[in-house]
Amino acid sequence: MSRGRRPKWMIELGKERIDILFNLAEKEFSQHPERSHRYVKLARNISTKYNIKMSMEWRRRFCKSCYKFLKPGKNSKIRLSNGKVHFKCLECGKLMRLPYIKEKKQKRRNKIESYLVKKRVNE
């Protein structure tokens, strides 16, 4: 069955549904953790069936192997080491590494601009 491209309104609907699901998972995590794991699974189903990329903020909030919802400090550890962000899922112990070069470059550019602005102000 050819999957092909889904119509536009379907993809919009899928995106909205994924956002709703993750927001709910965020809220529900403190009382009912197993519900938010279930929400992550549902969100993943939608994103795989309709070929929708999850937004950056949500992609980091669930474990890639055991698909559990990760809340920093509760069941996941986030560290920076040699240019990468390490997400460690405490449920299954998986380590996910993500480079953050874009953010570094952005930081350097901001620093240069602030110097330039200061110099112009002094003259």
């Binding site: 609907l13 709703i20 709910l24 549902l42 189903n45 939608i46």
Partner: protein, 93 residues
């Protein structure tokens, strides 16, 4: 945004719902927030925290949308896996 026109394709989890009619008399009149959804059932969390699993195809639901509108949906319309509901085709009345 959830509108009456795409509520049956949209996410049902998180909406408050009331069961109006059902083949199982005990379920009629129950209110609650939808917590979980599978192909044939909806899991409701009652205000007092108890969870009830309700079959979709045998009852009539009143969903309350965030903006306050109430939509009456026949359970038979919702019978499909949550991710398949988006692409399910319906007959325009």
């Amino acid at each position: 945004m959830i509108t009456p026109h795409n509520i049956f394709q949209h996410e049902l989890i998180g909406l408050t719902v009331e069961i109006v009619e059902s083949s199982h008399q005990g379920l009629e009149g129950i209110k609650g927030k939808v917590v979980d959804e599978t192909r044939n059932t909806i899991c409701l969390e009652r205000p007092d925290g108890k969870e009830i699993v309700v079959a979709k195809s045998t009852s009539l639901f009143h969903f309350r949308i965030p903006e306050g509108l109430v939509v009456e949906i026949d359970g038979k319309v919702l019978v499909s896996r949550p991710e398949d509901r988006i692409k399910k085709k319906f007959r325009k009345i």
